[in-house]
């Protein structure tokens, strides 16, 4: 099991990695294509199209003369215009010598709407648009930060931007959320809310944590829209820093199977969010003899369950990894 490799030496020379197969090769090719396509699609910096996000929201097909300006909008939509002063989008108006994006950046050119006496068919109204139309409108500017949205569970499930955000009537004025987290999330995720009512739970209902501390509702490359720590460990390690390692004696499953191999993420009936009622059961489920599983080693330990040891973790304290003991004691 042990080998005295220098720290900087990889054992790949001893047992080389095996080619993952044709499918993987194809994915590499796809990745290269994606990179190349990006390069081709992107003009050189400073090029004609490099106009930036500030004007990206403009209706590209509308001539400049079709825009009436936000003051014209405010003449009728006084309450909306007044409230917009505290909206984060106001910063866009200050672009381009105070001629940046305002109402018509999202709602489209308003000339016909005005000339039609407020004809609602002549203006883009997100409340009456399809989810895709609204998403396209928002992502025109927000694509950079929310590039994964369309592939996320929300995007795939037609939960559009205005499903959670309200530009003109938000409870959370920083993120323009309709209502604050976690209430907003629980409006749909009714199955998750009870987990935070379990005897042991992360303090989300209490306001200490939010759903978006661990999940990115706009999607990530990971499953369940989970975030990761900045060094790409499990998001749990941002707070539970002592479990990140690296350790001399890694408990391999912690790194390969993840925290949820042993813990509930949201809440549960067992202390320390363990996914079994007794820690010994968790340990023995892996550490029992099975010829087909390498992780069944060691088979044991052989400790009488009828003794006062009670929990494997009385002795095997450092179950997340240790620099001292190969069996995760905290002593040599």
């Amino acid at each position: 099991m042990r080998k005295d490799w220098p720290v900087t030496e990889s054992p790949r020379g001893v047992v080389p990695w095996k080619a993952p197969g044709l499918r993987v090769a194809l994915t590499y090719v796809l990745g290269a294509i994606v990179f190349c396509a990006t390069a081709l699609a992107s003009p050189a910096p400073g090029g004609k199209q490099a106009t930036g996000q500030a004007v990206a929201g403009q209706n590209k097909s509308a001539p400049a003369t079709d825009f009436v300006g936000s003051e014209a909008c405010g003449a009728c939509h006084e309450e909306v215009a007044k409230g917009f002063a505290s909206n984060p989008h106001t910063k866009l108006a200050q672009m381009h010598g105070q001629n940046g994006v305002t109402c018509e950046g999202c709602h489209g050119a308003g000339k016909e709407h005005v000339e039609g006496g407020g004809d609602t068919t002549k203006i883009f109204n997100p409340a009456k648009a399809t989810t895709k139309e609204v998403n396209d409108k928002c992502l025109t500017c927000h694509q950079g930060r929310h590039a994964n949205f369309e592939r996320s569970g929300h995007g795939e499930g037609s939960v559009g931007c205005i499903g959670c955000h309200s530009i003109h009537a938000s409870e959370d004025q920083d993120k323009l959320l309709k209502v604050s987290e976690p209430s907003l999330c629980f409006q749909c995720h009714t199955d998750i809310k009870p987990q935070f009512a379990m005897p042991y739970h992360h303090k989300v209902e209490e306001g200490l944590l939010t759903c978006s501390d661990c999940h990115n509702p706009h999607g990530t490359f990971g499953r369940k829209s989970l975030k990761a720590s900045v060094q790409q460990d499990a998001v749990c390690t941002k707070c539970h820093t002592e479990t990140a390692g690296p350790f001399v004696y890694e408990h391999a499953v912690v790194k390969t199977e993840g925290c949820t191999a042993c813990h509930f993420a949201h809440g549960g009936p067992n202390p320390r969010l363990l996914n079994r009622g007794n820690v010994n059961t968790i340990c023995l489920q892996c550490h029992s003899p099975s010829m087909n599983f390498s992780t069944s080693e060691p088979q044991g330990p052989t400790h009488n369950q009828n003794t006062q040891y009670q929990a494997c973790t009385v002795c095997h304290i450092e179950v997340h990894g240790s620099n001292v003991s190969p069996v995760y004691f905290n002593t040599h």
Partner: protein
């Protein structure tokens, strides 16, 4: 050391100074009297917003939407800003009976004064006249003694910068003595009033992020995160019996972030981030307060399991049967007088990340990233000292120190390479194709070296005649002790590589109906030390659908099926890495959101998750079936009702083997996979775990006028679970429990911009199974009284 956590067993939140206790009664009396004296004045004054401070968890969880949302306070104009501000000052009165340890573990509220909440919002009336910021918002709650508190601050100045920060503090108390408790055995020696692994730690987290020129072609960001986790706790060490240690748990991490976004073209962004993460692990431990003395008055401990697993003295000698007499320990026992450990750990994680996102072409969206992280970790100045006597090994003293360069104990690296790319192409107006590729390669080589100095004694011989050897009273300078120094080295290696790809097609049948289908595969490779390379393939079949006939009705359904198989049967005959991991998964999810009328919302969700591993040596099965329902009804503007119901059925079995001298009823020896056991774990168990949980919330809010707000509700969570009991001393604990938390709150405007509020939260926790060493049930009430000033 923080004042809040000086003692591992001090309960509740921070006392925040003795003056609070001194004037607590006066403060609360004032809070009570104030509304009475001013209530008559209230009816002509402005309304106040509902309590913004977070109520204790139960109430907050159950709170319905306000029946009538009061309009925003009109605010004041100060220095060119429209300003809204609120401060809520009061206190909590806590009464409880039952288990104080469980109360502290699950609720941890104490009596005392509080700054229940504060908030401030400032919006510039004319950005040209406010040079430093256009918008500022800050809020906080929980200061003065709540077990957790937070502060948020956000600022921005037009196109120039955005700044966001937060500070969070969370005190965690754990004394749930099921994981480690010597009292559960039949021959407990040391009366442990608490769990052997009790902890009372505080976690603090500061997050800041500054974005400069957020809407420009080039924008920059800089961030800093500082997190600490510290406090007293107990641990055990497996040496000379399981010796309890008093451990000062302390670690911290600083994260520095620098990044730049370059908007290369319309809807095309290239980003670079540099992360620098520094971790400091400074947890150290000493011997916990020792309950016994030696004949020479030296404090000592014999560990927590002496009588059942350790020898005391030597069989056949007089001292064998007399470990402790009147609190004086037999020096021939295995015992400990010193058990110190210091292992300061320093880890740096420099990480670089390059991202791009482009939707420049209308029908093609691309994004991806590449991340490289190379971590280095060292354990410096390692020292572990044991002084006592181990009758099993005859060791009188042992001192371990690091033997790598500069006295380091360990030096580890972690190389982490990530690459993710995705492309989404709109083939036709009704058909989209998305492909996502993931690559993740982690390697962790580590090495350790230590020098071990021992003083070894001589054994007592049973004779006759009896010859007494080394004991805990033997001086360390005694010539009978033999010194020895050994050098030890060890190295290990872990590598894990994941390569995955998912392709998903989305068909928009009609604007109201979308269907998705796809396939995801994941190749896994794991290598540990010189073991064979292990490889697996996972294939996922993905289906989904959305029906959204109107904006008031949406149904989502998703189905996933996974099948795992090993790619190299000669080295990995299993289809998974761990025994309890399933090689077949089916997961069906459905959600519906319905708003049939403006005054009512319904939401339903159902999950049917089933997984298995049919390996005959494992027989693993698990499922999680849940159904949940939520309704929000606002029949009139002044009234609202909220209901939540959920039933969750979690179940799992996995064959396992164990040893016991008191096999439970029905235990079978040498059966199934346990017939192959190479050790004494001969009894076959199935790891049965079932945790059906039923959850209900009901909340009612009533605000007949703008001067009065009433809320009542309750939350209950009932668990009727069971698990295989490997030990006759095992108790189900919270697995069979009911947690019932009713609440009520009342808010009354007492003057212009002033309101008074009172909150009552009751916590009723009851376990229905055997209690174990001490009942854990508790009942408690938390009364919160406060006066709020808001404009």
């Amino acid at each position: 050391m923080t004042n809040q956590t000086k003692s591992p067993k001090s309960l509740g939140g921070s006392p925040a100074g003795t003056w609070i206790a001194r004037f607590r009664a006066l403060t609360l009396a004032a809070i009570l009297v104030t509304p009475l004296s001013m209530s008559g004045y209230a009816q002509e004054q402005q309304p106040a917003t509902p309590p913004a401070n977070p109520a204790p968890a139960a109430a907050k969880a159950a709170q319905a939407a306000p029946a009538k949302k009061p309009g925003p306070a009109e605010g004041k104009t100060v220095g060119g800003y429209q300003v809204h501000s609120m401060i809520d000052v009061g206190g909590r009165i806590t009464e409880r009976d039952g288990s104080s340890a469980m109360w502290a573990t699950m609720v941890n509220q104490t009596s005392g004064g509080r700054i229940l909440g504060q908030s401030l919002q400032m919006h510039s009336l004319d950005p040209f006249k406010t040079p430093f910021f256009d918008r500022l918002s800050t809020s906080s709650y929980g200061y003065g003694g709540d077990p957790f508190d937070t502060t948020h601050l956000n600022m921005s100045k037009g196109k120039w910068y955005d700044f966001a920060s937060s500070f969070r503090r969370d005190r965690q108390y754990f004394d749930y003595n099921l994981l480690a408790n010597s009292l559960l055995g039949p021959n407990e020696l040391i009366p442990q009033p608490s769990s052997l692994h009790l902890y009372n730690t505080v976690r603090r987290d500061l997050d800041t992020l500054l974005t400069v020129l957020p809407v420009s072609l080039v924008s920059f960001r800089a961030g800093y995160n500082h997190g600490t986790h510290e406090g007293p706790s107990y641990a055990t060490i497996h040496q000379g019996g399981d010796v309890q240690q008093y451990q000062w748990f302390r670690n911290g991490q600083d994260t520095y972030v620098g990044g730049v976004d370059l908007k290369l073209a319309q809807r095309t962004t290239l980003s670079y981030d540099q992360f620098l993460v520094y971790y400091r692990g400074d947890t150290s431990s000493i011997l916990a307060p020792t309950p016994y003395i030696l004949p020479d008055a030296t404090p000592a401990t014999v560990g927590v399991n002496l009588l059942t697993t350790s020898k005391c003295g030597t069989s056949g000698t007089a001292n064998y049967s007399a470990p402790i007499v009147n609190g004086v320990i037999n020096p021939f026992c295995s015992g400990t007088t010193t058990e110190d450990q210091s292992a300061p750990t320093r880890t740096s994680f420099p990480t670089e990340q390059l991202r791009f996102a482009s939707n420049h072409a209308d029908k093609l969206a691309l994004n991806g990233r590449f991340l490289y992280s190379g971590a280095e970790s060292t354990v410096k100045s390692f020292n572990q000292t044991f002084i006592g006597f181990s009758s099993r090994s005859l060791v009188r003293e042992q001192i371990d120190t690091g033997a790598l360069a500069n006295g380091q104990l360990a030096k580890n690296k972690r190389i982490n390479v990530n690459g993710d790319f995705s492309a989404r192409y709109e083939i036709t107006h009704n058909l989209e194709l998305a492909d996502t590729f993931n690559y993740w390669d982690v390697r962790v080589p580590g090495t350790t070296a230590w020098s071990e100095f021992t003083l070894k004694g001589v054994a007592t011989t049973t004779g006759p005649p009896v010859t007494y050897g080394t004991s805990m009273l033997t001086p360390l300078s005694d010539p009978s002790l033999t010194p020895a120094t050994t050098s030890n080295t060890d190295s290990h290696y872990l590598a894990h590589k994941n390569t995955g790809n998912a392709i998903l097609a989305t068909v928009t049948v009609t604007p109201q109906v979308r269907l998705t289908g796809g396939w995801r595969f994941n190749d896994r490779q794991i290598k540990v030390d010189e073991d064979d390379l292990l490889t697996w393939h996972q294939n996922w079949f993905l289906l989904g659908g959305v029906v959204q006939p109107t904006a008031a009705f949406r149904v989502n359904v998703n189905y996933e099926m996974m099948n795992s198989h090993s790619s190299n049967s000669s080295t990995t005959p299993s289809d998974t890495y761990t025994r309890e991991a399933p090689n077949k998964i089916q997961h069906f999810r459905a959600r519906a959101v319905v708003k049939p009328a403006p005054w009512v919302n319904f939401a339903l969700a159902g999950n049917a998750y089933a997984a298995q591993n049919k390996d005959p040596m494992v027989n693993h099965k698990e499922h999680n079936y849940d159904f949940s329902f939520a309704a929000q009804i606002i029949p009139v503007e002044s009234m609202s009702l909220d209901f939540n119901f959920a039933h969750d059925d979690v179940y799992s079995v996995t064959d396992l083997c164990y040893a016991t001298t008191a096999p439970p009823t029905g235990a079978v020896a040498n059966a199934g996979t346990c017939a192959n056991s190479t050790n004494e774990n001969q009894y076959l168990g199935n790891g049965y775990y079932s945790a059906p949980a039923t959850f209900f919330i009901g909340a009612f809010n009533y605000a007949p006028s703008k001067y009065f707000h009433l809320g009542v509700g309750m939350r209950t969570n009932n668990l009727n679970g069971s698990a295989e009991q490997l030990s006759p001393y095992q108790v189900p604990g919270s697995l069979q429990s009911n947690y019932f938390t009713p609440y009520a709150n009342l808010s009354i405007n007492i003057a212009h911009e002033w309101s008074w509020h009172g909150d009552w939260n009751r916590y009723h926790y009851n376990e229905s199974g055997p209690a174990g060493p001490a009942p854990r049930d508790f009942n408690g009430d938390v009364f919160t009284l406060g006066v709020k000033y808001a404009f």
